[in-house]
């Protein structure tokens, strides 16, 4: 018997994929609705391995979807809603065409909303999943919060984005979760750590809305993305607030309530927004404020004690960072962009205020004497208070990235700022040469070897002899204690000797007794001395042995890694040496110059 002939593309890659047109037909949706539901449900087009086969032999490039994805969409109850909405759309369209604007308005008012919270749950089964995918969401929401009402974007969307973003920032402030800030040309990069997940987002600089080219971005699509993201961010906010024992929804300023229909101009809006961020939120009754993370328990599960140590150090640093600005009062001058600064300072426990005549929401006056830092972005100021430091805004950003309060002398008003470095550099690529200036920037504890020398160059040149004397002094100081101890020991020994002398009667007996004693005596234990050099050798040997145990599969990789490390180390060493030689040379030249000058001066004086 001849079996039935198998049809081409009924199995394999040909059956796995579906063109968009076929999908539309299968789902009985219009393209617009299909796009919307795809974005909401997170179904994206696919790239096949073999396009010809996936397109069932058809040429060209078509947008393909997985058949399974489409079948998954088929089960979505929202599809029925979308089909029902068609009736409303037709009614609205008809009313508009017939110029029955009253009816149209009514239909628009009664246009049903689609509830998509179950989709959020479905796409992100756990809270951590949602947090992990928050980057895009936050960036888009912050972006849309700056938009006015546009043609293809629902009217309440930018409003909702404004509210949700401010709520999220409040949650970050309450959780003290901010870790890194970077001011770039594009905007502010923020990185927070929530529930062990790092979330990075961009907030554009505040310019007034720039009109978009019509053919660059499909606003309809982006607005659909934002529709889903606002839903997601809302639920994330709710969860965050509850975990932080805060009341949700928080009572913010009046501009954030949806039914407020007053027309507010852009600047007033921004001012309200910032003022809202300066409020402290209501806590749930009966909850204590100070919730501290427990200290890291030490388990010896990890093989590498060094790693554990690093983790501990990191945790300590973060703990310090969280209360970096605690109890400090900041005053922001008029010309400084307030939004990022308020957010950052409040994140680390500081108090912020601004000129109350210009913007709403100021908490204390400029004349307040307890203000510690006054943030200024102009070269000079007429009236200055002695009780505070006048610093430039970059000091705040750099301090956050350095995780300590940096010395302000580089950031004082009118000073030429040091470069603002990115905190997003890969820490694993540490095998590069870092010039000492940059190292000092990154690590405030780092002291270049010739730092104090260069600092006191002038003095040094004038009185070289004095330094020598000082050195001698310091040596004596150091030795004084040890000398005292020695003296004391000598005295004690002498005392004991004299005692023995007094007792001694029979020299022979004494000798015998001594011998006996010697036989009986417990020889004083010699403390096991760890020879550092010996230990080093042993360690090295052990390391080599371990190296031998590297599997054959990975041996070449290991070798190349080692070789690379050596090479980089050598390069760094070379560059450091060069720098050192250069510095020494420069110093010597300077010295010589100075000496010459002095001689000249002397000659002149003598002449």
């Amino acid at each position: 018997m001849v079996s039935k002939k198998k049809k081409k593309y009924s199995s394999g890659e040909g059956a796995q994929f579906m063109t968009r047109k076929a999908a539309l037909k299968k789902l009985q949706l219009s393209l617009k609705d299909f796009r919307r539901i795809c974005i909401l449900k997170g179904i994206y087009p696919r790239e096949p391995r073999n396009r010809k086969r996936a397109q069932k032999g058809a040429g060209g490039i078509k947008t393909l979807y997985h058949t399974k994805d489409i079948k998954f969409l088929l089960h979505e109850p929202i599809i029925w809603k979308l089909r029902e909405l068609k009736v409303y759309q037709q009614k609205i369209r008809r009313a508009r065409a017939m110029r029955e604007y009253r009816n149209m308005k009514k239909y628009l008012r009664d246009y049903p909303d689609i509830n998509i919270d179950h989709i959020v749950k479905e796409r992100y089964p756990t809270f951590v999943d949602a947090l992990r995918d928050l980057d895009d969401c936050l960036t888009l929401c912050f972006l849309f919060s700056t938009f006015p009402s546009l043609k293809k974007v629902p009217r309440d969307q930018s409003m909702l984005c404004r509210r949700l973003t401010v709520e999220f920032m409040h949650a970050v402030i309450a959780a003290k979760a901010l870790r890194k800030v970077f001011v770039s040309i594009k905007g502010y990069y923020y990185q927070v750590e929530l529930e062990g997940q790092t979330i990075t987002w961009i907030v554009p600089h505040h310019f007034s809305f720039q009109p978009q080219n019509k053919d660059e971005v499909d606003f309809k699509i982006m607005s659909t993305f934002v529709e889903f993201y606002t839903m997601m961010l809302g639920f994330v906010n709710f969860k965050l607030y509850h975990s932080l024992n805060l009341v949700y929804p928080p009572k913010l300023t009046a501009a954030f309530t949806a039914d407020d229909k007053e027309l507010i101009d852009e600047h007033a809006y921004v001012a309200e927004r910032i003022a809202a961020m300066n409020l402290s939120l209501a806590r749930v009754e009966g909850s204590n404020e100070g919730e501290e993370l427990p200290e890291i328990d030490i388990f010896n599960t990890e093989d590498d004690p060094q790693k554990l140590e690093e983790a501990k150090l990191e945790a300590e640093k973060i703990k310090k960072l969280k209360t970096m600005f605690k109890g400090l009062k900041f005053f922001i001058n008029r010309e400084v962009p307030r939004e990022p600064l308020v957010f950052i300072i409040r994140c680390f426990g500081g108090e912020v205020s601004w000129d109350k005549d210009h913007f709403v929401g100021a908490t204390f006056d400029e004349s307040d004497e307890s203000i510690a830092y006054h943030i200024v972005d102009r070269p000079t100021m007429d009236k200055q208070y002695l009780s505070r430091y006048y610093v430039q805004p970059q000091w705040v950003f750099d301090s956050v990235n350095a995780r300590t309060l940096l010395p302000i002398n580089n950031y004082l008003m009118g000073a030429v700022l040091p470069p603002h470095l990115s905190p997003f550099v890969d820490k694993t690529k540490d095998q590069v040469y870092i010039p000492p200036e940059e190292r000092a920037l990154n690590d405030p504890n780092f002291k270049p070897l010739d730092d104090d020398q260069s600092g006191s160059e002038i003095e040094e040149a004038s009185d070289e002899d004095k330094e020598d004397e000082e050195e001698a002094d310091s040596e004596e100081d150091g030795d004084a204690e040890s000398a005292l101890a020695k003296q004391y020991q000598q005295e004690v020994e002498e005392d004991s000797d004299s005692d023995e002398d007094e007792e001694g009667v029979d020299p022979e007996k004494k000798k015998l007794a001594k011998e006996k004693k010697k036989a009986m005596a417990v020889t004083a234990g010699v403390p096991h001395k760890e020879h550092p050099y010996q230990k080093e050798i042993e360690d090295k040997q052990a390391f080599r042995l371990r190296e031998k145990l590297v599997r054959k599969k990975h041996r070449n990789l290991y070798k190349s890694m080692k070789a690379g490390q050596e090479k980089r180390k050598k390069e760094i060493w070379l560059l450091r040496k060069k720098r050192r030689l250069h510095d020494e040379k420069a110093k010597e030249e300077k010295k010589a110059e100075k000496r010459q000058k002095r001689q000249q001066a002397l000659e002149q004086a003598s002449a």
């Binding site: 790239e47 947008t63 749950k121 479905e122 040309i185 809302g234 970059q394």
Partner: protein, 463 residues
């Protein structure tokens, strides 16, 4: 006692035989009863008074016969007025079964619809102020309903729900009896009812999952970058630009540059030549003189003659061939012997070649992997836009926050990032052209200068 009859064995193989021999009287009786009940109503529900009559008269008592006078004809007629006419009795329902669709053919009773008169009356009353209170109440109610509706809409924006809180197995449709940590997940899911079973979402594409939504910025895009980092960024941008220029140059060379340029005059000449090919040429004496040297006809390709080779040449040819073959063979034999001595060298050369090939292979694989990691997905016929490095003009760097100028469009960047991750198919927005409406005058409605003149003169004439 009923005598048990000996049953005859009959075959009830098919439906017909079954119906013939099986006793279905009881079933039919039951069904008959049920039909009766439907028609007459159930006995259980009927009150006793309807079913039974109390026997008040004794057995012995005589039945009193009232002498009822027959009604007069007039009265009879009157009594009949109340009865439903016999002709309409057919239309009345006889069955006790309730009408499943009671609303059918509902006709508004006379007087329920406002007539012209009643409308007038109502209007008059409203003017008098009788309905005012009612109207106000109606307005209030309408507003309440609207508010309620609006509030229901706003619930969507309050997010008052812990979405991830109730992550109980019962919410997934798993029966409560199976919610235990000792029962495997497979077994739990197996028992979910098919109506509650969710179709699992297929895993997302790799590009969507692995590529970062917000890429870490190059340190050179800082608003106040260090010199080295900024130079590094500039280097990168320069390299990118060079690459693009090279590509463009290549495209130019391969397309536009490939074709010869022809001036207008040359083009005309060519055209003339082509168009006049095959036409009789005008007499050209210079040409004629050249061709006049030999009058004999000569073909361009003279005919080939089949000249036979003789025996000697054939033999020589054969010998030559054989000699060649022999020499070749000899050479190969020699080579074999020398190769034996060369074995070691050969081996080493093979080894080095293999090593080289392996290294190349691994290099190729590495390259392929890196390309794959950053390759742009092709999801539609349009090309996905390549990520351009952020260029910061050194002139723009003022070093303070006040004078930052953005040169990128953040929304577009987001849009393209989505495309690069494969979440959106690359697209090109086609702008709709506004249709130009052509306006016409209806023939009869056209008003020309002439018409106006005519109208004016007529009016003047009238006056």
């Amino acid at each position: 006692m009923s005598v048990v009859k000996k049953k005859k064995r009959v075959s009830k193989k098919n439906k017909k035989a079954w119906g013939k021999y099986s006793d279905i009287r009881d079933v039919e009786e039951f069904l008959e009863d049920q039909r009766l009940e439907e028609r007459l109503g159930k006995f259980d529900t009927k009150p006793d008074s309807e079913l039974f009559v109390v026997d008040t008269g004794g057995d012995n008592e005589e039945v009193k016969v009232e002498d009822v006078k027959p009604l007069s004809r007039k009265l009879q007629k009157r009594a009949k007025l109340n009865e439903v006419p016999k002709c309409f009795e057919v239309l009345l329902p006889t069955s006790k079964v309730q009408d499943p669709n009671k609303k059918r053919n509902y006709v508004n009773p006379v007087g329920s619809k406002p007539s012209a008169l009643s409308k007038l009356k109502e209007k008059r009353l409203a003017q008098k102020g009788v309905f005012e209170k009612k109207l106000a109440e109606a307005k209030k109610n309408r507003k309440l309903a609207l508010d309620k509706k609006r509030k229901a809409k706003q619930v969507r924006q309050t997010f008052g729900m812990d979405l991830w809180g109730k992550d109980l197995p019962a919410s997934k449709g798993i029966p409560e009896t199976l919610v235990d940590e000792f029962i495997s997940e497979e077994a739990q899911l197996h028992n979910v009812l098919p109506t509650q079973r969710l179709r699992p979402k297929p895993p997302l594409a790799k590009t969507v999952v692995t590529r970062a939504a917000v890429e870490t910025p190059h340190p050179g895009v800082s608003y106040n970058p260090s010199y080295q980092e900024h130079q590094d960024l500039l280097q990168q941008v320069g390299k990118h630009e060079e690459k693009m220029m090279k590509k463009e140059a290549h495209l130019h060379r391969v397309t536009t540059g490939m074709f010869r340029r022809v001036t207008q005059a040359e083009k005309e000449n060519q055209w003339r030549e082509e168009m006049s090919s095959g036409l009789p040429q005008p007499h050209n004496p210079a040409e004629e003189s050249e061709s006049d040297t030999d009058n004999e006809y000569k073909a361009v390709n003279p005919p080939v003659k089949n000249k036979k080779k003789d025996h000697k040449t054939r033999r020589k040819q054969k010998e030559r061939l054989l000699e060649k073959e022999r020499l070749k063979r000899e050479k190969i034999d020699k080579q074999k012997i020398t190769d034996l001595y060369k074995l070691r060298k050969l081996q080493s050369s093979i080894k080095t070649r293999e090593q080289k090939q392996a290294a190349e292979r691994s290099k190729r694989a590495e390259k392929r992997a890196t390309v794959e990691a950053t390759a742009l997905p092709t999801l539609s016929a349009h090309k996905t836009p390549v990520k351009e490095p952020d260029f910061v003009d050194p002139k723009q760097l003022s070093g303070d926050l006040r004078n930052i100028q953005a040169n990128t469009n953040p929304l577009r960047e987001r849009f393209e990032s989505l495309q690069r991750r494969g979440a959106l198919a690359a697209s090109k927005i086609m702008m709709k052209k506004k249709r130009k409406l052509k306006s016409y005058y209806k023939a009869g409605h056209k008003v020309t200068e002439k018409d106006i003149q005519k109208y004016v003169t007529r009016n003047v004439g009238k006056k």
